[in-house]
């Protein structure tokens, strides 16, 4: 039973993530005054990529891509969706933070194995960026954990139940602002997309991926969008009363990220890390001190 649940939840997350990506493309196109592809375009892309013949360089590439998707799916299963989850757990935040790393590790391993210098530069940037955003992200999470005396996401989401005025976004507005900036970096959207940077490192990690490897990479990205926006909903927007409510909130958060993505230029990697360590971290620290004392 749990196994079937896990499969259904995984498919749900992948589907939602892909549709979000499609809607995001449509919104960016409209901002560019283009017509844009239909909202289900990403799903068609996946089918196309998965059915094509693809190139691999060695078994590490295959292993890494499978590991990346598995890590993100595992993470997704620990995020409660409007109080529902595939199995009974305490949905511990620290577990989610570390499980997400397995996705990054798999991706990093796969693309480094290709031997392309552009891919490796992309990975070195991505890991540097990770150190940049983990600090403010964790400080915000720490504030939530301290004020609820629990590291369970379900408890944090449940504490905001009732009316819209119980949401954490009103209780800790500074934390929300910091989280919004951090989320931009977590999703790798501009101005924090130095690791992908098509003009400099030819899409970085993606440069050597073809066919089903690119497909698996896209699926990983879709699930990571689901996880990251899902965390945001649980932390600041009350976690949603039912799955539809939850997904709509997620979509709103994702669209904010897409809009910012379209109006900002790109930071260099060291500028991005400095920015993340000064502004969101500073705001988050102020929020933490307000909560702790």
């Amino acid at each position: 039973m749990v196994v079937i649940n896990i499969i259904l939840y995984s498919l749900f997350a992948i589907l939602v993530g892909l549709i979000f990506m499609g809607i995001g493309r449509k919104v960016s196109a409209r901002m560019h005054l283009r017509y844009g592809p239909p909202f289900y375009q990403s799903i068609l892309d996946i089918f196309k990529l998965m059915s094509r013949k693809s190139f691999t360089h060695n078994f590490v590439m295959d292993l890494g891509m499978v590991m990346a998707l598995a890590g993100l799916l595992g993470t997704m299963l620990y995020v409660p969706i409007a109080g529902h989850s595939a199995f009974i757990s305490n949905s511990n935040i620290i577990v989610i933070m570390y499980l997400m790393a397995i996705g990054s590790l798999g991706m990093a391993m796969a693309v480094t194995a290709s031997g392309n210098p552009n891919a490796t530069i992309g990975i070195s940037r991505a890991l540097t960026m990770m150190l940049g955003y983990e600090i403010p992200f964790f400080i915000i999470v720490l504030g939530l954990i301290i004020s609820n005396n629990s590291s369970s996401i379900s408890v944090i989401a449940a504490s905001q139940a009732g009316s819209i005025w119980n949401w954490n976004i009103w209780h800790m507005p500074l934390g929300y602002i910091a989280m919004e900036i951090t989320l931009q970096a977590m999703m790798g959207e501009k101005p924090f997309d130095a690791m992908i940077a098509p003009a400099e490192v030819a899409s970085g990690p993606m440069v050597e991926l073809s066919g089903k490897y690119l497909g698996l990479g896209l699926l990983t990205h879709a699930v990571s969008i689901f996880v990251e926006t899902g965390l945001m909903v649980n932390f600041f927007f009350g976690g949603g009363s039912n799955p539809i409510d939850f997904v709509i909130k997620q979509l709103g958060i994702y669209l904010i990220a897409v809009i910012f993505d379209n109006i900002f230029p790109r930071y260099k990697i060291e500028q991005a890390v400095k920015f993340l360590w000064i502004f969101p971290t500073g705001i988050a620290v102020v929020q933490l001190l307000l909560l702790a004392f």
């Binding site: 059915s51 392309n116 698996l216």
Partner: protein, 623 residues
């Protein structure tokens, strides 16, 4: 009990006699470590085992006694240390062939002798003798007859000597206070001293803490491992990094924690000020060592700094003074032994095959040494604290304990260090095992069987402990009970924390991850076929780099892996550069000594000295 000390001591002298037959010597070494592991295994639960000898001379009105006792804490460290040694010993047989022979087995046996002595000592005399023996023997192994190693070893020895002197001073002061050498009694008398004379007591434990911090390389003594670990024999480095860095941790748990727990101290938030100070030192250590590790190009130096950072986590866990924190710290001690041994052994296998220590000169070794790669991969997943491997559990426990005690900035430092760990671990993976294989390594082979066996065992061990944490938490229960904490018996699968609704079932986590892996694998299998092509076929669009007077391995991006990041930190790195400090210190010493030598080499100086001497004589005579 005594046999544990006698066997390594006797075999040490025995093997010195037959030092020519290296294979036999290392086999004896393996047998001794096997015996010790077995003997220690049978000693679990027998907490009344002890041994003592009364010596002929008197002190404090009684005959001096040297004694050993089987305490849960000592057993815990001794057993896992000897288990690690057993695995390293197996590796050493294969490693020490004609070309790589370091001839250190007899001294290493002496080191194991003192190792057991430290962990089971009941009184300060025994502890000090063994501590001194350990510091000195380690010097000879690190030096192992090479000039560059001897320099590093000298550095280690001089730092170690400072530690031993403060330990000696501390023991003299404390035993004068408590009128005995017994460790348990001295804890009680120091607790009493804390209530009467706070600053004196702080000085007393400060002396001990200095010793332990030096041995575990905690800030401000974080710099010696990068020299000593890097230059010692490749098969000894894991022992140095995993077992010997735990002596300081053991000392802290044995002596400092009980005092801090029982004394009435000024508080800072939820914990006492000295403990908080310790946590801050641990936090600085792990952050600093992580940053330094990220910029290393030598793989042994990189992991030397990584070891320093890991001991920093352990100290942070201990400083919480809570059950979960100490549990996490002890757990991480064992985990660190396992994964860091696995990492150092897999790197030793790489060095054994290639003879190269600089990461950027290697690359693509995954094609030639797949098993070594797999061991290294699982070990770094464990070291980065990613579930479902063992490193995650202990880091998780420490983070939870720090959050429960509201040590906010310490826990942020912990997260910084463990995310940064990810950067340096992947740097080594990418540079050594992935990327292009240089032409000169086209025909190297996989590590020999005797190396592969211990590495595989370590790999399986870290997986097993990650899935079933009870293997380690059950013995930790005994340790915590022995320290006087009230603990619930821990379960095989679940780890508990002080925070509400935050317990974690690790076996379940493993199952979930496995199901996710299967889903991911199915996605991979149902999609289209793949074709395996050469690396250069793709990104140089089929053109041969040799035609442009270059080789494919020049495309490896490895040397300045985190260059932009390094530029951010350059001002800070300059500020803390230890070499600069040492050279400026050296210059001051040189000036002072040359000024001093003027006093007796030049005639004016000599006459001045003469007058001063006469003046002292006259003043002394008048008094």
């Amino acid at each position: 009990m005594l046999m544990l000390l006698v066997v390594p001591l006797i075999t040490a002298f025995l093997t010195m006699a037959i030092l020519k037959h290296q294979k036999t010597v290392w086999t004896i070494f393996l047998a001794v470590s096997g015996y010790l592991s077995y003997a220690l295994f049978t000693m679990y639960g027998k907490w009344d085992l002890s041994w003592s000898i009364e010596l002929g001379f008197k002190m404090f009105g009684k005959n001096v006694v040297l004694s050993l006792i089987n305490s849960p804490l000592g057993w815990f460290f001794a057993f896992f240390a000897s288990l690690t040694t057993l695995l390293i010993a197996m590796f050493s047989i294969a490693y020490n062939d004609e070309k790589h022979d370091s001839k250190t087995a007899p001294i290493w046996l002496l080191l194991i002798f003192s190792n057991i002595g430290i962990f089971f000592a009941k009184d300060w005399l025994m502890f000090f003798i063994m501590w001194e023996a350990m510091s000195t023997t380690a010097y000879f192994i690190i030096a192992h007859g090479k000039e560059i190693s001897a320099k590093a070893a000298k550095f280690y020895l001089s730092i170690s000597l400072i530690g031993t002197s403060t330990l000696l001073l501390g023991i003299i002061l404390v035993s004068r206070l408590s009128q005995t050498f017994d460790i348990g009694v001295s804890i009680d008398s120091l607790v009493k001293l804390f209530s009467t004379n706070y600053s004196a007591a702080l000085l007393y434990i400060g002396l001990f803490i200095t010793t332990f911090l030096i041995k575990s390389a905690i800030f401000p003594f974080y710099m010696w491992p990068s020299k000593a670990y890097a230059e010692s024999p490749d098969d000894f480095t894991p022992f140095l990094s995993t077992v010997m860095s735990k002596y300081g941790v053991y000392g802290l748990i044995l002596f400092i924690l009980p005092i801090l727990a029982k004394s009435d101290l000024p508080m800072f938030g939820k914990i006492s000020q000295p403990a908080y100070m310790l946590a801050v030192l641990g936090a600085i250590t792990s952050v600093l060592a992580t940053i330094l590790a990220i910029f290393q190009t030598d793989m042994k130096k990189l992991f030397a700094y990584s070891s320093v950072a890991n001991v920093g986590y352990i100290v942070m866990g201990l400083a919480t003074m809570s059950v979960v924190g100490i549990q996490g710290a002890l757990f991480h001690s064992v985990n660190h032994m396992i994964f860091k041994t696995a990492i150092f052994l897999s790197l030793a296998a790489v060095i054994y095959r290639t003879g190269e220590r600089d990461m950027h000169k290697l690359g693509g070794l995954v094609y030639k040494m797949p098993l070594t790669f797999l061991v290294y991969l699982l070990a770094i997943i464990s070291a980065a604290g990613i579930p479902p491997l063992s490193g995650f559990t202990s880091k998780w426990l420490i983070v939870q304990a720090l959050m429960a005690q509201k040590m906010l900035f310490v826990v942020v430092a912990m997260i910084f260090a463990s995310t940064g760990a990810f950067m340096y671990l992947l740097r080594c993976l990418a540079s050594v095992f992935l990327g292009q294989l240089p032409d000169k390594y086209k025909d190297i082979k996989e590590a020999p069987l005797l190396m592969a066996i211990p590495m595989t065992i370590l790999m399986l061990l870290t997986l097993a402990i990650g899935v079933i944490p009870g293997i380690i938490t059950k013995p930790i229960d005994a340790v915590l009970t022995g320290m006087g904490y009230n603990v619930e018996p821990s379960s095989w699968t679940t780890v508990h924390t002080a925070l509400a609704k935050s317990d974690l079932n690790l076996t379940y986590l493993f199952y979930v991850f496995m199901v996710a892996c299967v889903i991911s694998l199915i996605m991979y299998l149902i999609s289209g076929k793949q074709e395996k092509i050469d690396q250069i076929d793709n990104y140089t669009a089929g053109e041969n780099p040799l035609e442009w007077d270059t080789t494919p391995d020049r495309f490896n991006f490895a040397y300045g892996f985190y260059q932009p990041f390094k530029q951010m930190f350059n001002p800070m790195l300059d500020l803390i550069s230890f070499e600069r400090w040492m050279s400026s210190f050296g210059r001051i010493v040189e000036r002072a000594s040359s000024a001093l030598s003027l006093l007796y080499t030049r005639s004016e100086g000599a006459i001045l000295m003469l007058y001063i001497g006469i003046a002292i004589l006259i003043i002394g005579g008048m008094m």
